[in-house]
């Protein structure tokens, strides 16, 4: 695989980034982690990512706004929303607004890997999870 998939991960829970960054890097992605949506937006202004994974509920900015801004700037980017169970309405809203898919908390690293693989496929790239992913999947 010549080109590594570039992923921006945004969640205000620090542990999410801390655990998912190595998990996704193992699968051959390049991951940048943000806890603050404003900083993430600054970074997105400068650089195009293949995939953006964002939590919906955050203090400074809502995931839906992130989605709108990303798609406005980089229409090609696939945005994956992280939601809570209680927020299916928001998940549906984000799908209508052009999100690629959503994943509900709590999820396993492999759940996210699968959604990312799907997005990668849609982008025309592919990741070989069998070599990097966990054995349980």
């Amino acid at each position: 695989m010549a080109e590594r998939l570039e992923i921006l991960l945004l969640d205000d829970e620090p542990i999410v980034g801390k655990r998912l960054k190595p998990a996704l890097e193992k699968s051959g992605c390049k991951v940048e982690v943000f806890e603050n949506p404003l900083e993430a937006m600054d970074r997105l202004e400068q650089k195009r990512f293949d995939i953006v994974v964002t939590d919906i509920r955050m203090d400074e900015m809502d995931g839906l706004q992130v989605l709108e801004r990303v798609l406005a700037k980089w229409p090609q980017t696939k945005v994956i929303m992280i939601t809570g169970y209680a927020m299916m309405a928001l998940a549906r809203e984000s799908m209508e607004k052009g999100a690629f898919d959503f994943i509900a908390k709590p999820f396993r690293p492999d759940d996210l890997r699968r959604v990312i693989a799907k997005a990668a496929k849609a982008l025309g790239s592919s990741i070989d999870f069998n070599t990097a992913g966990s054995k349980q999947s």
């Binding site: 999410v16 655990r19 998912l20 190595p22 998990a23 169970y85 396993r108 690293p109």
Partner: protein, 522 residues
């Protein structure tokens, strides 16, 4: 360990003495009941009966006095008659005596008259003695007897030794003595008549006085009694109307004894206390049911918030399993530590909600207002941020601690904050401020929203039970009413100011140290 236990024990004891039930009035109602009943009974009925009995006894006394007086008058009149008779007999005797000396008539008539006079005097000796005194009576009697004796001697002289009449010396001696005794008797008899007349006049005056005085006393007594009776009924009715207003205003402390005796109103007070007990139980149930509604509202937020630690645990565990061999000891420890922390976080979220939902015996404690407001806000934070609204908390420095039922006050603040959030536009903010109130020894907690505000015409009814502006099925209309009740129980109140279009401010004013009001049981 022992030291710890000891200090903990002391603390509990200290706490117990301060802990008072605010809502569960059962004990206080029972105590009030006992206090109300322990007094001596003196009912309105008793008062009326006693007054009637007193009036009757008084009338009886007056009647007895008057009857006695009439008897006295009667006997005085009778006696006066005797005295008159007595005096006239003596006068008659003296007349015959004079005739004897002047014309030499016989003395039998004179003797008869004086004998009659003596008989009258002896027959009424007791009465004469009562008026004249024992000694004078004796003197009087002696005089009569002396007079009689003289007449007797004279008669004997006349009958047997008429020649002695020539002895002018002896005759004039007897005549002088007769005149002297006769005059003394007449004077005494007249004095007696005068004395007796005066006495009769006094008795008649007394009869008049008894009438006047008894009427005046009766009038005063009846007036005073009427006043006391009316004052008693009126003041008690006034007090009870005060209780009714107080209870209507939400202060449902039981009625405690105010007087030293009990009566018909005591039964009313006990009935009202029973009613208060019922109201209390219902209010407690209402507060609890309202709290459960709030819990329902919060559940969505809490469930969502719970997803975060759960997600962190899940991700960490899976990565730990996936990379167990590659990870260093240090990294593994760090991950397990994360799991432990996140489990604790999840536990706290649940505990926080359960703590709020728990139906606890209400206890009074001293607590920090800042901590309470922070806890309350953290309870709703997730729920509120879902609606895209920020909550800002500002607490003044050095704010005194509050004394009260922490859980119930939390319910009040939660309710006001959720209301403020409902009133706010998406993206708006709700300010929660705690600061010293304008009133000394009070703190004010302001919950400010910048929403649509409350129209003026409904502002006065927002605290009414079942008043709601929310769509059917969304609000019970009891939130503010219940909150107002809780705050009133703490000796405070909720005030509201609102500007249509620019938002509302709800201010909870709470006393700092005066709560709980000590209920003195007399």
């Amino acid at each position: 360990m022992t030291e710890f236990n000891k200090s903990a024990g002391d603390h509990n004891q200290d706490e117990d003495s301060r802990v008072r039930k605010v809502y569960d009035h059962m004990e206080i109602v029972e105590k009030s009941r006992q206090a109300l009943l322990s007094r001596r009974r003196f009912s309105v009925r008793h008062q009326i009966y006693i007054a009637y009995a007193l009036v009757f006894l008084f009338a009886l006394g007056v009647a007895a006095a008057l009857i006695t007086n009439i008897y006295q008058i009667k006997s005085q009149l009778q006696f006066l008659e005797f005295v008159n008779e007595f005096a006239s007999e003596i006068q008659q005797a003296r007349r015959y005596e004079k005739n004897f000396f002047l014309y030499g008539t016989n003395l039998d008539d004179a003797l008869e008259n004086i004998h009659l006079a003596k008989t009258i005097f002896v027959q009424n000796a007791d009465q004469f003695a009562a008026i004249l005194g024992q000694k004078q009576q004796q003197t009087f009697l002696a005089r009569i007897s002396a007079y009689e004796d003289l007449l007797d001697r004279l008669k004997q002289i006349q009958g047997r030794k008429p020649q002695l009449f020539k002895n002018t010396k002896l005759l004039s001696k007897i005549e002088d003595d007769l005149r002297k005794y006769g005059k003394e008797m007449i004077d005494s008899a007249q004095g007696l008549i005068k004395k007796e007349k005066d006495s009769l006049s006094r008795t008649l005056d007394r009869s008049r006085d008894i009438h006047i005085v008894s009427l005046v006393v009766l009038l005063i007594f009846l007036a005073v009694h009427a006043y006391l009776l009316v004052a008693r009924i009126y003041s008690t009715l006034k007090r009870f109307s005060g209780y009714a207003q107080r209870i209507a205003a939400g202060d449902i402390t039981p009625i405690i004894p105010k007087r030293r005796f009990r009566d018909e109103f005591t039964e009313l007070a006990i009935a009202i206390n029973e009613m208060i007990k019922e109201m209390d139980a219902r209010e407690a149930a209402l507060i609890q049911s309202h709290k459960m509604r709030a819990v329902g509202t919060l559940t969505a937020g809490v469930a969502h918030e719970l997803n975060n630690p759960l997600n962190n645990i899940m991700l960490t565990i899976h990565m730990l399993m996936e990379d167990y061999k590659e990870l260093s000891e240090q990294e593994r420890f760090e991950m397990m530590n994360d799991i432990a922390n996140e489990t604790g976080r999840a536990k706290n979220i649940i505990a926080n909600l359960l703590d709020f939902a728990r139906e606890s015996a209400t206890t009074i404690e001293t607590f920090d207002l800042r901590k309470l407001l922070e806890d309350t806000i953290s309870l709703v934070r997730k729920q509120v941020s879902l609606s895209g609204i920020r909550i800002e908390l500002q607490v003044a420095e050095n704010l005194p601690s509050i004394h009260g039922d922490r859980q119930k006050l939390q319910q009040v603040f939660l309710n006001l904050i959720l209301n403020a959030v409902d009133a706010s536009e998406k993206g708006g903010k709700v300010q929660v401020m705690a600061l010293p109130a304008d009133k000394p020894n009070h703190v004010a907690i302001k919950i400010i929203d910048y929403g649509k505000g409350i129209p003026k015409h409904i502002l006065s009814s927002i605290f009414d039970p079942f008043f709601t502006t929310k769509p059917k099925g969304k609000g019970t209309g009891l939130g503010l009413s219940v909150s107002q009740g809780i705050v009133a129980k703490h000796g405070g109140q909720i005030e509201v100011t609102s500007e249509e279009g620019s938002g509302s401010t709800f201010t909870v004013v709470l006393p700092v140290t005066t709560f709980p009001k000590e209920i003195p049981l007399i």
